[in-house]
């Protein structure tokens, strides 16, 4: 079966610094994949390269068999790959509703856009309540929800979320993941999520990749990761 999202021999470099090398990865349609690993392992670089925000030094990225690598970020977004970046990067001076509208400009299905707005407002009622407020006035958790909702409004086939739990209270993280999984089921989304906590990934459930030094060093079910000590190995050196 053809992978929904395929990465082949990817390398990302920032000047002389190598962030990712020889990385290959296949994600199936509807799959939920967690990417974990220590700081500097290349998790965010992987997502940024797939989204076209940074240019790959080498390798190929495909979605549904179509080559994405080399296209710009806007062209990749237009093909149905959406990104919730590290730090959320909402537009603080725009209202909540305007934030949600930025990504709908490329869509031609106007009635479906209205339905999608209703879907994200139902999933995150606080966004409906604050629709006319400046996004910069929202709390961290609300901004995370807005960032996810904004990505969904582009009607993506594949959505990537970079550290949704960063800086949020555990209870809020629970809520964010509940909604994310709910929306994934509803939309048949393929999800790639950067998540530091293997315990959290195991609880949510899905496949887990462990990155270290710009490579994938382990790949398996998230629940197995929590049991085995692969994480500690990756963080503290171990045999690898």
């Amino acid at each position: 079966m053809m992978a929904k999202l395929g990465v082949y021999d990817l390398a990302v470099r920032y000047g002389k610094l190598t962030a990712i090398s020889d990385l290959s990865l296949a994600v199936a349609e509807g799959e939920r994949v967690f990417v974990s690993g220590p700081n500097g392992a290349g998790k965010s670089s992987l997502l940024s390269a797939i989204a076209g925000a940074v240019r790959a030094a080498h390798g190929r990225i495909e979605m549904d068999g179509e080559i994405l690598s080399g296209l710009g970020a806007e062209a990749i977004a237009r093909r149905g790959l959406s990104m919730v970046p590290e730090g959320r990067r909402i537009f603080p001076g725009l209202t909540v509703l305007e934030n949600l509208s930025v990504g709908t400009g490329m869509r031609r299905d106007r009635s479906a856009v209205a339905d999608d707005l209703e879907t994200v407002f139902t999933a995150f009622p606080i966004l409906r309540e604050r629709a006319r407020s400046a996004a910069g006035a929202l709390s961290g958790g609300q901004q995370q929800m807005l960032a996810i909702a904004r990505a969904l409004m582009t009607n993506p086939k594949v959505m990537m979320v970079d550290e949704p739990s960063l800086g949020l209270a555990p209870k809020v993280v629970d809520e964010v993941y509940d909604r994310l999984c709910q929306l994934q089921a509803l939309r048949g989304l393929t999800l790639v999520i950067v998540e530091q906590s293997s315990a959290r990934a195991a609880r949510v459930g899905g496949r887990m990749l462990l990155m270290r030094g710009g490579r994938i060093v382990a790949d398996g079910d998230a629940t197995e990761f929590a049991a085995r000590d692969l994480l500690a190995e990756a963080y503290f050196g171990g045999a690898a």
Partner: protein, 302 residues
């Protein structure tokens, strides 16, 4: 304070505000200070007359009736700016802000030399809408009709631009791109469309300034955009780089302060009006180096 002074201050401040907006719009989306803006203004001025190096100017487009002439000159200004973006700044899209700025200087010099080659270096008398110079009596003040038209036009332009930025799709995309360009692209916003849009608006605003300058001074001079470009640039800095409302407020403020100083300073000090004016600018920047209205979301894009 006399009523006359209020009109002077509004007209001068308004035109500075429009010029400053032309700079701020492009800075907002591209983090580029377009130093060729003054030459955009000069090109729009010379578009009014037939190219020739003779001392006497012959009106070409400038002879058309105003309802045709004004939109046409606005289109020429917008078209020139869009063309400049496509030819000069698009190939430099990934260059550093400093390289872009140097590029804009180069473009300005090139345009100025093009005008020198086509029209010669001597200032030319151009009589555009001379009938607008006649005064209108408003209460105690005798105000040139042109000044009233300028004030009204500036008000319409500011309101229209604000509406366009708030309500239109392009306006939304421009505001999003101004806050975080890469994020806007990751949401499918086309950078070429947003940047061309900003340049078109900026070029149109340059043309407005050009028309007002010619109508007020009756002169076409290759150097005439430089002075107002400098004031406009200062206004965008004082207003807070990246803030459109800040640029408008500071443009109005500098124009008004200039008119007030002109009227209020003792006759001996009047030649040094600009020294007082820019002294005030330095004071403002000492206390608010980020400008008066620095936007929250506009970190420099590096």
């Amino acid at each position: 304070m006399s009523l006359q002074l209020v009109f002077d201050a509004l007209a001068l401040g308004g035109i500075y505000a429009v010029a400053a907006l032309g700079i701020a719009l492009i800075f907002g989306v591209m983090r580029l200070v377009n130093f060729a803006h003054g030459q955009f203004i000069a090109c729009a001025v010379f578009a009014l007359i037939v190219p020739s190096t003779d001392a006497l100017a012959v009106l070409g487009l400038g002879a058309l009736p105003a309802p045709v002439l004004v939109p046409l000159i606005l289109l020429i200004g917008a078209g020139l700016a869009v063309l400049a973006e496509a030819l000069v700044f698009r190939p430099m899209r990934n260059a550093s802000p400093v390289a872009l700025m140097v590029g804009s200087f180069a473009l300005g010099v090139a345009l100025q030399n093009l005008l020198l080659a086509l029209y010669g270096g001597r200032p030319k008398a151009v009589s555009l809408w001379a009938e607008l110079g006649q005064p209108v009596q408003i209460a105690s003040a005798s105000v040139p009709l042109l000044q009233l038209i300028v004030i009204a036009a500036v008000a319409v332009i500011l309101a229209g631009l604000a509406l366009m930025l708030r309500k239109s799709r392009l306006g939304l995309e421009m505001r999003a791109a101004a806050e975080d360009f890469t994020m806007a692209r990751m949401l499918g916003v086309r950078s070429n469309r947003v940047i061309s849009g900003a340049f078109a608006l900026s070029g149109g605003l340059a043309a407005v300034v050009a028309l007002v300058l010619v109508a007020q001074t009756g002169v076409a001079d290759v150097r005439m955009g430089g002075q107002i470009m400098l004031v406009a640039f200062i206004a965008t800095v004082v207003g807070g780089m990246g803030s459109l409302s800040g640029a408008v407020a500071a443009g109005l403020g500098i124009g008004a302060a200039s008119a007030l100083l002109q009227a209020g300073l003792p006759a001996d000090a009047r030649p040094f009006r600009d020294a007082f004016l820019y002294g005030g600018v330095i004071l403002v920047l000492l206390f608010r180096p980020q400008g008066l209205f620095a936007p929250v979301g506009a970190k420099p894009r590096v």
